[in-house]
């Protein structure tokens, strides 16, 4: 192995020259220490008087005194050759001659580099080889990630031919067929390749040597840097980790493998399918709380689901200020940088295929506790009927819906049928469970297919990458499906030396069909359905359920009044629905990079993206929606105010963005001693999102024609006493423009590979604030330092060969787009009396408005035990949200009661621990583990508005979208009423009022102060992580990931008799209710209630501490099994590589703290079910 035994310096004057140049460019004052570089200067003479010194020692001394680097194959110097040095101001060449005089070695000097090599072969040998015609071998040396290795030694073994790779990692050397070429580089395993007739260009990837440096590159979107030389908190996900999972989207692949990154699963956003990720906690109150996603150097404006994960080469997550502050005001929530795959220079065509199919279980319709069995439900209905509870709805001229049981009871009472007939029919309903039909007819097994092909390669002047992907997902909800076509191409050209042109094109076309029934309900006051409903007859024919109106009236009198059929048959609805959304996304990237003056390159990048989403929800005349609307708007005389026919709701959204960037990069290495990288640039972004909606009536799908309707008049509804309304019209237009201009700069200085300093800054200006505020813009900056202790000469801990400390400090920013610095008004329609338009002030001017700032201080240590038996890192950080947008009270005489400005502060801290271990590492069997632990808690430290008890419950834990800031409490928290058990005699729930056990619910609800509430704890996991184990046996590898979320709480649902009566909201707790004195010892479910219901009692019980559960859980997230076949294992295989894989996701909960068998990772809404388990099979091949 060749090693650089020495470090060389440069002429002092040259250093200063370059340094000044750097200063001019970056305008950063860097480190004055640089001025003292190589104070000894360069004298090509050596003074050394010492006996018995090894050649290595002499070479070190040469480097020290002359600055010349000396390279040698390690094997050549292995012998403990010593000489007696007696040099006094001796010229360098003379020294070298004397050193090598008694060896088989010789040397060449080129560009201040001395290469020690074996002496040329004898004449005889030369004649021998002369019969072989030498060929020119060129190639490129990279690490395994494809990053060029500059200065790697390339030697033809057994000859004097040695060269060093250039700044692109490329080399050219002449060799004979049959020669062996050895490539070596510090920190990497050497590679030996035989030269054959096909060896005109070699791509040589070196693997990091065990226990040595681990080559990890991190990408910020502005630059790619060695993680080794980074001070900030980066998480790098390589291709292997990204591809461990099988999914249609890319971001879910971060889940469970990224320390500090949490997928919130128990929030309203995630429940509605919106991405809800937090990196290192929550850094804002009301502003955007999602991380910035970068795709190929620019923020991605479109729907992230448009990105095909097969096109992603690597993902970098930027967590602290030093990592993210280059992104300025958009970095406050962390940054996720996605880099797509690219071709490589001088690489032959390589084709990758990936195909897989994922089958998911049916959703569990029986999971939700918000259900009451038919028998109990009917019994309760019968009791309420006897009490006359339904009398106001029976024979009510406004025809409110009645459940089938109540209808039968009413019919029996009025004598339409006998009581026996009623009882027989009712008893038949007692055994029906609507969830069987839901699972049978509304759910199915999901089937997702994914196919992807990519081609990549390159000549010495261009690279290319082309991929096409097709996904077809059949959702678990009957009626829903998605498909997506992605086409991606990335090309680079080097038309002339030092100039690189890149062009990328991405195209996505996706179609979604959304015809499912997600919320089966009977309308009226009923938000759900009676448990004894049936959706299909014995032969699968669709049956009607009670919907919106009295069913007996719908099928009786109403059907004889010339109206359209008013029945609602859910299964027919799925068939008749036609709701589609098509998205087309085109992204074009161009870039020009010009290298000059050896150390500089200038880049210009431009990206254009356009994305169009078109939604068409067509309700044919057969759909209930159309029939119902037409009937409702029919005048009593039979006139149709809505024409009989179809209804088409259209929505269109167009996004177009343009982003341009100019950037100057500098990199120089002085004698491997000082390394400086710096960049500076400016960027301009514009994103315009416009949308419009419309509804047309009397729409004929085959002709594309519609009819005009009167949107203005209030039509009395067909059923008397149900009011009047205008014909629904979704007409609307919107246009949002985001403009940014930014200036950024960044520099990192490394001294002796072990002292690293970094500095980064950015100024943003935006149209959100108006011009005046931008003129006062404050730069967001960060600084960091790192010390690789293990590289110090005095470092002696051989069991711990790698130990590095990092610390950073800096600011990120954030913005709430709903506030502005100037007074803004907005036009509204439908003026209160005249019906026209009017304006209202929506935002009082605030010239003091500024960016939200997030300050983060990070302390970290990276370490690796010998042979990487255990390696890892620990980051501890302190964060502070400063000038966050918050509401503050204003004296109401100003005309406003609250004012949103930069008035809130938060504070938090946390840690991220990563441990990797190689438990067993034999030739045929390996077992490695990865353990991740993250902790984070954010608290509100300053907020001007004092919250009330009722708002603590209205807004809840914050997981439903609105944060309730309370000083010195976590941003997300659960509060509850103190619970005093059930009353022994009545089974009523008991709380505390003024310290006394009380059932005065009104008193408790109005008299409990915020400070009297029980603070249960945070409502989002504060401790979370994963434990991943990977086993490899020959070509078979198995990996499974256990994820855990700890230290958080959730409020579970229970029975509310009021809601059961008015809305049919059942709960399994009904069966556990208090029924007789003594039950209070075994249950906390209050005794049954009959009308009139006490709203306050419900409110108290619902929000009492007895319904708060601990959310902690550990789950086996997934397992993946792969079998690899390579040419080495199967010689005749037509592929380079073939892999079969299987993957199981959402396997199950291993442990949970709550005893109610609930999945705390669900946002608690009725009908929610845990994410079903999926299993995937696929194959990948490369040829």
């Amino acid at each position: 192995m060749y090693k650089n035994y020495t470090k060389n310096g440069c002429r002092r004057t040259a250093c200063i020259k370059k340094f000044l140049l750097v200063m001019k460019i970056t305008t950063f004052i860097l480190f004055v220490a640089l001025m003292q570089v190589s104070a000894a200067g360069i004298a090509q003479r050596l003074t050394l008087v010492k006996s018995n010194v090894t050649l290595k020692e002499v070479f070190k001394e040469i480097n020290k005194q002359t600055g010349y680097s000396i390279y040698s194959a390690e094997s050549l110097l292995n012998s403990n050759q010593t000489i007696d040095a007696n040099f006094k101001d001796t010229p360098l060449l003379e020294v070298l001659d004397k050193c090598l005089v008694n060896t088989q070695l010789t040397y060449t000097v080129e560009n201040k580099t001395v290469v020690i090599k074996e002496k040329p072969a004898s004449l005889l040998d030369k004649i021998k080889t002369a019969f072989n015609i030498p060929i020119t071998v060129s190639g490129k040396v990279t690490d395994t990630l494809g990053t060029p290795l500059i200065g790697a030694t390339v030697a033809v073994k057994g000859s004097d031919k040695v060269t060093i790779t250039n700044e692109k990692g490329e080399f050219t050397i002449s060799a004979n067929v049959g020669d062996k070429i050895e490539v070596s580089f510090i920190g990497y395993k050497s590679s030996l390749l035989a030269v054959n007739n096909n060896s005109s260009y070699l791509n040589i990837a070196l693997h990091a040597s065990v226990g040595g440096l681990k080559e990890v590159l991190v990408s910020t979107g502005y630059q790619t840097l060695l993680k080794e030389r980074a001070t900030g908190a980066f998480v790098q996900l390589d291709s292997a980790l990204i591809n461990r999972r099988v999914s249609t989207d890319v971001l879910s692949r971060l889940e469970g493998v990224t320390p500090g990154l949490l997928f919130n699963r128990n929030t309203i956003n995630s429940a509605s399918g919106t991405l809800d990720i937090n990196i290192r906690g929550h850094s804002t109150l009301f502003a955007n709380d999602q991380p910035l996603v970068i795709v190929d150097n620019f923020p991605y404006d479109g729907d992230i689901n448009n990105i095909n994960p097969n096109d992603i080469e690597s993902i970098t997550v930027l967590k602290d200020a030093a990592a993210a502050s280059i992104w300025g005001v958009r970095s406050g929530n962390g940054v996720i940088v996605l880099n797509t795959k690219k071709g490589k220079l001088n690489q032959p065509l390589s084709v990758d295929l990936n195909a897989n199919v994922t089958v998911g279980n049916k959703p569990d319709a029986f999971y939700s506790p918000d259900f009451l069995n038919s028998n109990d439900f009917i019994n309760y209905e019968e009791s309420l009927f006897k009490l006359g509870y339904y009398d106001q709805n029976i024979n009510n001229s406004s025809q409110p819906p009645l459940s089938p049981v109540v209808q039968l009871l009413a019919d029996a009472r009025s004598g339409k049928i006998t009581q026996d007939q009623a009882n027989t029919q009712i008893n038949a309903l007692r055994n029906i469970d609507v969830r069987n039909d839901i699972e049978k007819y509304l759910f199915r097994k999901s089937v997702d297919q994914q196919y992807n092909i990519s081609l990549r390669g390159g000549s010495n002047k261009n690279t290319y990458f082309f991929s096409a992907g097709y996904d077809n997902d059949l959702a678990a909800q009957v009626g829903n499906k998605n498909d997506r076509l992605t086409i991606n191409s990335q090309n680079t050209f080097n038309p002339v030396k030092n100039l690189q042109l890149s062009v990328g094109l991405n195209y996505t076309d996706s179609h979604a069909t959304d015809n499912s029934i997600t919320n089966l309900n009977s309308g009226g006051s009923y938000s759900t359905i009676y448990p004894y409903a049936t959706l299909a007859g014995p032969n699968g024919n669709a049956l009607a359920i009670v919907k919106d109106y009295n069913y007996a009236w719908v099928t009786g009198p109403a059907s004889q009044q010339g109206l359209l059929d008013w029945q609602y048959k859910p299964l027919d609805e799925i068939k008749n629905a036609d709701n589609t959304i098509e998205t087309k996304d085109i992204r074009i990237n161009t870039g020009l990079r010009y290298s000059f003056l050896k150390d500089f390159n200038a880049e210009v990048k431009y990206q254009y993206e356009t994305s169009a989403t078109d939604g068409n929800n067509y309700f044919s005349q057969d759909t209930y929606y159309a029939r119902n609307l037409i009937n409702r708007y029919t005048s009593p005389d039979g006139t149709n105010n809505i024409p009989v026919g179809g209804i088409l709701q259209q929505s269109a959204s167009d996004l177009s963005s343009q982003r341009g960037r100019g950037q100057l990069n500098f990199q120089h290495d002085w004698n491997n001693r000082h390394n400086l990288t710096a960049l500076a640039g400016a960027e301009i972004n514009q994103t315009i999102v416009s949308g419009n909606n419309s509804t047309v009536y009397g729409y004929d799908n085959s002709l594309g024609t519609s009819q005009n309707v009167d949107f203005k008049t209030y039509f009395p509804f067909y059923i008397p006493g149900t009011g009047a309304g205008q014909i629904p019209n979704s007409l609307g237009f919107s246009k949002i423009t985001d403009n940014y201009i930014s200036y950024f700069s960044n520099a990192a200085y490394t001294y002796l590979d072990r002292y690293i300093f970094s500095l980064s800054g950015r100024i943003d200006k935006s149209n959100l604030f108006g011009v005046n505020t931008n003129q006062k813009s404050v730069p967001l900056y960060s600084t960091g330092a790192a010390w690789d202790l293990s590289k110090e000469p005095f470092y002696r801990l051989t069991f711990l060969p790698h130990l590095k400390f990092r610390t950073t400090f800096g600011y990120n920013g954030n913005i709430d787009k709903n506030v502005a610095a100037v007074t803004t008004i907005r036009q509204f329609s439908y003026n209160y009396f005249s019906g026209g338009t009017y304006d209202a002030v929506v935002n009082p001017g605030n010239p003091e408005l500024r960016w939200e700032k997030d300050r983060m201080i990070n302390f970290a240590v990276d370490f690796s035990f010998k042979n990487q038996v255990v390696s890892g890192s620990l980051d501890y950080y302190l964060k502070q949200g400063i000038d966050l947008f918050g509401d503050s009270p204003l004296a109401p005489s100003t005309g406003l009661t609250t004012f949103r400005g930069n008035t809130a502060d938060t504070k938090g801290n946390g840690l991220d621990l990563v441990l990797n271990s190689k438990n067993i590492s034999t030739k045929n069997f390996q077992w490695s583990s990865n353990f991740q632990l993250s902790y984070v808690l954010d608290k509100v430290t300053h907020y001007d508005i004092t919250q009330t008890t009722s708002s603590a419950f209205i807004y809840g834990s914050g997981n439903s979208g609105t944060i309730l800031p309370i000083i010195n409490q976590p941003i997300f928290a659960i509060y509850s009423y103190r619970w005093a058990g059930l009353d022994h005699n009545t089974g009523n729930p008991q709380g505390y009022l003024n310290g006394q056990v009380s059932t005065d619910y009104t008193g408790i609800v109005s008299g409990t102060k915020l400070t009297d509430l029980v603070y249960n704890g945070p409502s989002r996991p504060t401790t979370f992580g994963a434990f991943r184990n990977t086993f490899t046996w020959h070509s078979l590898s198995l990996s499974f990931n256990v994820v855990y979320k700890l230290n958080y709480y959730f409020r579970r649902s229970s029975i509310s008799y009021g809601s059961l009566a008015t809305g049919w909201a059942g709960n399994t707790d009904f069966t556990k209710r208090w029924q007789k004195p003594g039950d209070e010892l075994t249950t906390n479910v209050p005794s049954i209630q009959y009308p009139p219901f006490s709203g306050d009692e419900d409110l108290f019980y619902k929000n009492s501490s007895v319904l708060v559960d601990k959310g902690d859980n550990i789950r086996l997230q997934d397992a993946s099994l792969a079998y690899d076949i390579t040419k080495a294992t199967w010689k005749g295989m037509p592929f380079n590589h073939l892999q079969f894989y299987a993957y199981v996701n959402n396997i199950g909960i291993l442990w949970r703290a709550n005893h109610d068998h609930l999945d705390p990772d669900l946002f608690g809404s009725t009908g929610a079910y845990p994410i079903p388990r999926t299993i995937s099979f696929g194959l990948k091949t490369n040829f």
């Binding site: 201009i741 959100l768 787009k817 009396f833 002030v841 004296a891 109401p892 005309g895 406003l896």
Partner: protein, 447 residues
């Protein structure tokens, strides 16, 4: 791109682009006009606290206990402490009106008037002044003591916010300063307002004259009140013959149009205990209507076995009308004439009003033999009957209690307790909202 960065002007234009097309920085006359046409704000937030305490309605103990806010309960029994920390919509809504009017007036002062826009400019300016004046007047009626010429120079009024700048703090002006400002603005608005407007929710010259008449009457300046009432009725003296109305079950008329009597349409904010189904009409008042008086059947109905009020002039939104109408101004003119000794003139207006309120042919006009004092008594009684639940009774109680002839002590029974409000009690001024006291450090009314 570098060319772009070089150009500061272009950068400014780029950064000044509107982030959301729906949002606008108010800058044009039509923007300002549109801001003043916010009917939900300007025409639907007249205070109702006064009416809660004015004795026109009673509620049962059950309704009182079930009131959705403490404010309603306390106001109904004239408690010393009213809000108990609750938001005071009466105050907040009126100051929101003041703020919006100030945004417009501040904006107008920096606006260059384009050619041909002088008329529109005048209308917008006059409207803003009128709206600010009426908001201040409504505030003074609720949150300051009744006007008393002797003490008005020292009695505390309300903060007179004359700028839209949120950072300026205003102290409570004296009552005299308040009335001076209100009257000055209104008189100035007379020089700007048009005589005709496109919709009844926008003030015109007639409405401004009517409001001036209302305010001068409240301050006891009968000569001035008379002169503005004259001006108003000269411009619009329409009075509706109730015989032509076709009342519906729950409203005064089944026509969904505004009566020609209306001069400027506003409603009071609503309180649940005074909703149609909760508030019970005071029996004494009900019994004071003559059998042939159409108002007796048109204003009142029995619902849920109690007497309810259904006589609001708001047929569009079914809220309680508190705006300006000619019937009030006829009564103002009649009262002023009576007080000034013009019996004939006073009776002319009173008879004109009542002949339109009685079944055709049943009203016997009051004879001119009555004394001025008798006429005055008649007019005062007629105000109670004609202007029932129009938000005016509270002001009438405040001003008339200062005259021994018209003094009234209000009494209420709730939950077995009896509450009284004697004449000229300090509780005739509501306390300022708690938030206002805390945040603005204003002196509170002593009750």
């Amino acid at each position: 791109m570098s060319a772009f960065f070089a150009s500061c002007k272009k950068e400014d234009a780029f950064l000044a682009e509107k982030p959301n097309e729906a949002l606008e920085v108010p800058s044009s006359l039509s923007d300002y006009q549109s801001l003043l046409q916010n009917e939900g704000l300007f025409n639907n937030s007249d205070p109702n606290l006064g009416s809660l305490a004015a004795g026109e309605f009673n509620v049962t103990s059950d309704v009182w206990l079930a009131a959705s806010t403490m404010t309603e309960r306390n106001a109904y029994i004239w408690a010393k402490d009213i809000y108990q920390g609750e938001v005071v919509n009466d105050w907040n809504g009126l100051y929101r009106q003041v703020y919006t009017a100030n945004v417009v007036l501040d904006g107008l002062s920096n606006l260059k008037i384009a050619q041909g826009q002088q008329t529109l400019f005048n209308e917008v300016k006059g409207t803003a002044m009128f709206l600010r004046a009426i908001a201040f007047y409504n505030l003074v009626q609720t949150f300051a003591l009744p006007y008393n010429k002797a003490s008005a120079g020292t009695d505390l009024g309300i903060p007179l916010r004359l700028s839209s700048d949120l950072n300026i703090k205003y102290q409570r002006a004296t009552e005299q300063q308040c009335y001076d400002q209100i009257l000055q603005d209104l008189k100035l608005s007379l020089t700007f307002l048009p005589s005709k407007v496109s919709f009844i929710t926008r003030p015109n010259l007639t409405a401004a004259n009517a409001l001036l008449a209302r305010i001068y009457l409240a301050t006891g300046d009968y000569a001035q009140a008379l002169s503005y009432a004259d001006a108003c009725l000269a411009q619009n003296g329409a009075i509706v013959d109730y015989n032509t109305l076709s009342p519906a079950d729950y409203s005064l008329t089944s026509n969904s149009t505004y009566l020609p009597e209306e001069l400027f349409h506003t409603d009071m904010i609503s309180y649940t205990i005074f909703s149609f189904t909760s508030a019970i009409v005071d029996t004494t008042i009900y019994q004071s209507y003559d059998q042939n008086d159409l108002r007796k059947s048109m204003f009142f109905t029995i619902y849920d076995s109690h007497l309810r009020f259904k006589g609001s002039y708001d047929y569009i939104q079914y809220n309680n009308f508190s705006g300006l109408a000619t019937d009030e101004i006829y009564l103002v003119r009649s009262e002023c004439n009576a007080r000034l000794g013009n019996v004939t003139a006073a009776l002319a207006d009173l008879n004109l009003l009542l002949v339109n309120r009685y079944k055709t042919g049943t009203f016997v006009p009051y004879p001119s033999s009555l004394t001025a004092d008798q006429v005055l008594q008649l007019v005062i009684n007629e105000r109670i009957k004609e202007l029932y639940y129009r938000g005016l009774r509270w002001t009438d109680l405040r001003r008339l209690n200062q005259d021994a002839r018209f003094k009234v002590t209000l009494t209420r029974m709730i939950n077995g307790n009896t509450y009284t409000l004697p004449p000229n009690d300090p509780r005739y001024a509501y306390p300022l909202p708690d938030q206002e006291i805390q945040l603005n450090n204003l002196p509170q009314n002593q009750r």
